[in-house]
């Protein structure tokens, strides 16, 4: 899963989807996660990055991360990664 390529993400956490005209806001940690996803980081990498930088345990972050991802999917901000050819 990755963030749709045409999504514009500002430094303040304002997000714009030009294909639908919808805009969104996210908090600083949400912004950080979005940027990491956009950079193509895997879930484990993101978890390591966040738990190293914030006062949060692995389990709490994992729950919150899944919830955040499911919200991104519901808001249609993501695309499934194409399967690599063997």
């Amino acid at each position: 899963m990755s963030i749709k390529k045409n999504i514009a993400i500002s430094e303040s956490g304002f997000i714009f989807d030009p294909s639908t005209g919808n805009s969104f806001t996210t908090n600083p940690i949400g912004l950080e996660i979005l940027q990491l996803i956009k950079e193509g980081r895997e879930q484990n990498e993101i978890k390591k990055h966040i738990t190293a930088g914030y006062h949060v345990d692995d389990n709490t972050f994992e729950k919150d991360f899944y919830d955040f991802i499911s919200t991104l999917q519901q808001l249609k901000l993501t695309v499934e990664n194409e399967k690599k050819n063997d």
Partner: protein, 454 residues
């Protein structure tokens, strides 16, 4: 280099909706309330458990004094009577009694509570439709004021005359049309239909009863002070009729209660804090109506007020914690709290103000707040904007002092402790939290049911 970790907050994202807000904008409750009367919410929860009810004695006394001032600066003879059903924890009652309130009770149980609290019989008003023969005999012999609700009660007082050591000091409860809907006509005798006058005639022609006053209670959470003006005018007319017809000066007019608190009723467009009239507005309406009714100065009746909710609601807080967060099938965020409708009964009709008890960032999200009961009806707020709470985060529910500590249910879970913070900011437990033993001790097990094999 020494690295410090940043404070964690759950990641949130939400769509920006344009053109959907009402003209007042959305209301957010992310401003944390970390202390109550100098006591940290976290410390109170550590000491007394979560959830826990907390009452501020400072707020109770300040609110009472505000109400007392509003009426006493407008009317010469005013007496408050604490409405026991609103909150009858004895320590709470005694704060009001220390401020000079009489007791207003609506059952034999509440009457006994008032006696146990040390209230003199003459300062207890006995209201309500359910007074047993034994309770009436006790209360009349104790010199209390009996507010008669129906004819059966009136005739019962006549029948028990041989067992009375004193003449019964009675008033009738009067119901009437004050221009508000719904009109409360199930209690007392109707004014417009002539029932009230009939009841007065019956009492005045009876030898063992002394009609000393008139009582009404026109509704609850009354947002219209002018309805009290209508009621006070009609009550004054009745009192003046008694004087004219029987040459009898009534001692008092009891206007009951029903003043609104600053809670927000469900479905209300305006926040409760903006909608609720002040004590001054109620006092102005009632005092002006009685003063202009035509009493001579000597005959002006004592004005009794039984307001409960407006005197205690704001002094009450419920502290609780987050059990879990989840996402509903339609995408809405849901948060499960450790308190539900079992102890926060008023959430059935109020959108209670709920604030976090620890600092958060600027972002918030719409959330459904559920209680912990395994029951679908256990919803505290259908929709509230809160910062991203996580498990064990603490919240403060505001304006819960009225009715919750009397209408709460021992259902599924045990009821929590109630703590009073005194004028010197010292907390005192005024009701212990329930234990399985305190519930079990009222049960009996028949011998044949004691043993079983599964």
């Amino acid at each position: 280099m020494y690295l410090t970790k940043k404070q964690y907050e759950r990641p949130v994202i939400q769509r920006v909706n344009v053109g959907l807000m009402n003209k007042y904008g959305t209301r957010t409750e992310y401003e944390p309330v970390t202390h109550i009367d100098g006591n940290a919410v976290a410390d109170l929860i550590t000491a007394y458990g979560s959830p826990v009810f907390v009452l501020s004695e400072k707020t109770i006394r300040a609110t009472f004094r505000d109400a007392n001032r509003a009426f006493k600066t407008r009317y010469p003879k005013v007496q408050f009577a604490w409405s026991y059903k609103t909150n009858y924890i004895s320590a709470v009652c005694n704060v009001f009694h220390q401020e000079g309130s009489w007791a207003e009770v609506v059952s034999g149980f509440e009457y006994q509570k008032a006696i146990n609290n040390g209230v003199p019989g003459a300062n207890i008003i006995f209201n309500g439709p359910d007074k047993s023969e034994a309770e009436l005999i006790f209360a009349i012999n104790n010199g209390s004021l009996i507010h008669i609700d129906h004819l059966d009660e009136l005739y019962l007082i006549k029948e028990i005359e041989p067992q009375l050591q004193k003449r019964a000091r009675v008033a009738i409860r009067v119901n009437m049309d004050t221009g508000v809907y719904p009109a409360w006509d199930r209690f007392g005798f109707n004014y417009e239909g002539g029932q009230a006058q009939d009841a007065i005639n019956k009492i005045m022609l009876n030898t063992n009863m002394d009609l000393v006053g008139l009582h009404c209670h026109i509704g609850t959470f009354m947002l219209t002070p002018s309805a009290y003006a209508v009621a006070a005018t009609k009550m004054s007319e009745l009192a003046l009729n008694v004087k004219k017809k029987f040459k009898k000066t009534l001692e008092y007019i009891d206007m009951g209660g029903g003043f609104a608190s600053r809670n927000t009723l469900k479905g209300s467009y305006i926040q409760g804090a903006d909608a609720a009239p002040s004590f001054d507005q109620y006092a102005e309406a009632i005092s002006t109506a009685i003063l202009n009714a035509g009493f001579t100065e000597a005959d002006l009746p004592l004005l009794i007020l039984e307001t409960g909710r407006a005197l205690i609601d704001e002094a009450g807080f419920l502290l609780g914690s987050v059990i879990s967060n989840k996402r509903l099938a339609d995408g809405r965020r849901a948060t499960i709290m450790n308190f539900g409708v079992n102890i926060l009964f008023t959430s059935f009709w109020y959108d209670h103000k709920i604030t976090p008890a620890q600092p958060f960032g600027q972002h918030n999200e719409s959330t459904v707040l559920y209680g912990p009961l395994c029951m679908n009806i256990d919803v505290i707020r259908e929709n509230i904007s809160l910062p991203p709470l996580k498990k064990n985060d603490q919240v403060v529910v505001h304006t819960v002092g009225a009715y919750n500590m009397t209408q709460w249910m021992q259902f599924i879970a045990l009821r929590p402790a109630v703590v009073l913070i005194d004028m010197n900011q010292k907390p005192h437990v005024i009701r212990n939290k329930e234990t399985p033993a305190s519930i079990q001790k009222e049960e009996e097990m028949p011998a044949y049911l004691k043993e079983f094999k599964i």
